[in-house]
Symmetry: C2
Subunit: 257 residues, 2 copies
């Protein structure tokens, strides 16, 4: 994204709907939440909510209509393949109150892609169906494109394919000021420094401090992540926290542990 297309004064938000029985059964470990969250951060867009729902039309319609209204951008993953359990396109068309049509460019992409892979068939052509009025998002991995309609972006369930679609979208969405972060690690139980964290956050109005404890090699530690849109305040807050930890005899580790 070029800097000039960002609007630092406004916060842009996104929501994500992960669609798939395989996530809810525990069979598949989702990788799209973290991948899309990180990508959005780089675009200057904040992920505000994720919902994971099953392959059910009513659940998809409800989630889509709630979240597209309250976020600048709504992403979905899953359910845009060729099989009977791929119902995302139809459900989103229903949510938007539009029909489903075959996109001529998507049809051509699929015909070309499958020319040397056994030929096109009815199931493969399902992947050319889009909510009426939609645009395509290129997919350089497997032919079938992603879909954009209004502020809704339909991505694949397979993380590698979604990665390619995100790459194609990079820099095309309007975003706001980047949320910057610095991490300060420390070999200290977070419960020993809880008051320090709260006081340090209060003293730096634009900053939030998250505390993420861990146990490693038999010791308590924590990473403190400071977030702000203001680079100077971020640096001042991180320095204040690190200095305070050092002066307690608990050396701060810049960048985290």
């Amino acid at each position: 994204m070029t800097e000039s297309s960002n609007s630092p004064g406004r916060i842009y938000t996104a929501a994500l709907i992960v669609i798939g029985d395989e996530i809810l059964s525990g069979r598949t470990h989702d990788k799209n939440i973290a991948q899309i969250a990180s990508w959005l951060g780089v675009q200057g867009i904040r992920l505000k909510e994720v919902r994971v729902i099953g392959d059910e039309t009513a659940a998809i319609v409800e989630a889509v209509n709630t979240l597209r209204a309250r976020s600048d951008y709504l992403f979905t993953t899953g359910g845009i393949g060729p099989t009977h359990d791929d119902i995302t396109v139809d459900a989103i068309a229903e949510a938007l109150g539009v029909g489903v049509e075959v996109h001529p460019v998507a049809r051509k992409i699929l015909e070309d892609y499958y020319e040397t892979r056994g030929g096109i068939n009815e199931a493969r052509l399902r992947m050319a169906r889009v909510p009426a009025g939609a645009e395509l998002i290129p997919n350089r991995y497997s032919g079938a494109p992603g879909i954009r309609i209004g502020n809704v972006f339909l991505m694949a369930g397979v993380p590698q394919i979604t990665a390619g679609m995100l790459d194609a979208l990079s820099g095309t969405l309007e975003g706001g000021a980047l949320l910057l972060s610095e991490t300060v690690g420390c070999w200290v139980p977070e419960s020993e420094v809880a008051e320090l964290l709260a006081d340090t956050e209060k003293a730096h109005a634009s900053c939030q401090i998250g505390s993420y404890p861990f146990w490693k090699d038999g010791h308590n530690g924590a990473n403190f992540v400071i977030r702000s849109v203001d680079a100077e305040e971020l640096a001042a807050c991180s320095r204040a926290l690190a200095d305070a930890l050092d002066s307690m005899g608990k050396p701060a580790v810049a960048g985290g542990i």
Copy 2:
């Protein structure tokens, strides 16, 4: 869970709220969704929806009140530690319209746990606070217990701690018939067998078939997961699918690839 405590005729459902800015920023890859989903399956309870939200009271209150009403059980992860960003107990008390109190048993557990670890302090005592009327869920890893109030279960954000809390809960929740599954793998693009999958599912009324494609070693393959509460129909459906794949010259791999 003993078999006698299950009610095979009824479907029990659960929802999960993952609370934490660190998941929405992409910094932390969630492991609790898959862990809790799998554990629920073993209890005969189906996970129907997951929401990931930030450390914001209003977002927690809304999600808790929506999901506890439409599910038999509601789980939350995250935000029950000792620091200022741990607001789950207060937010859930607000959602339920009850106060927050110090649980005397939790207080005792924490005092004992920290006796040899620097002593109790105000931050650590925060972890003894519960919505009024709540029970404790034992945590054998780090002292601070999980919390149960009504059909709402507050678990830790750290996956190993949540694992211990789930273990303590195993067999204590009423569940329904187990959703059984079998996986049939095949080195075939799912788009070549989409019609077969739909027809096979239709012919076995109690079964759902999910299709999960992958690319491995330069080849297209897919795992087909058949799910049913009826063991006989599940076996018949899996066999029918495997036979059909074999007769197409695409050998089925029992158990998946």
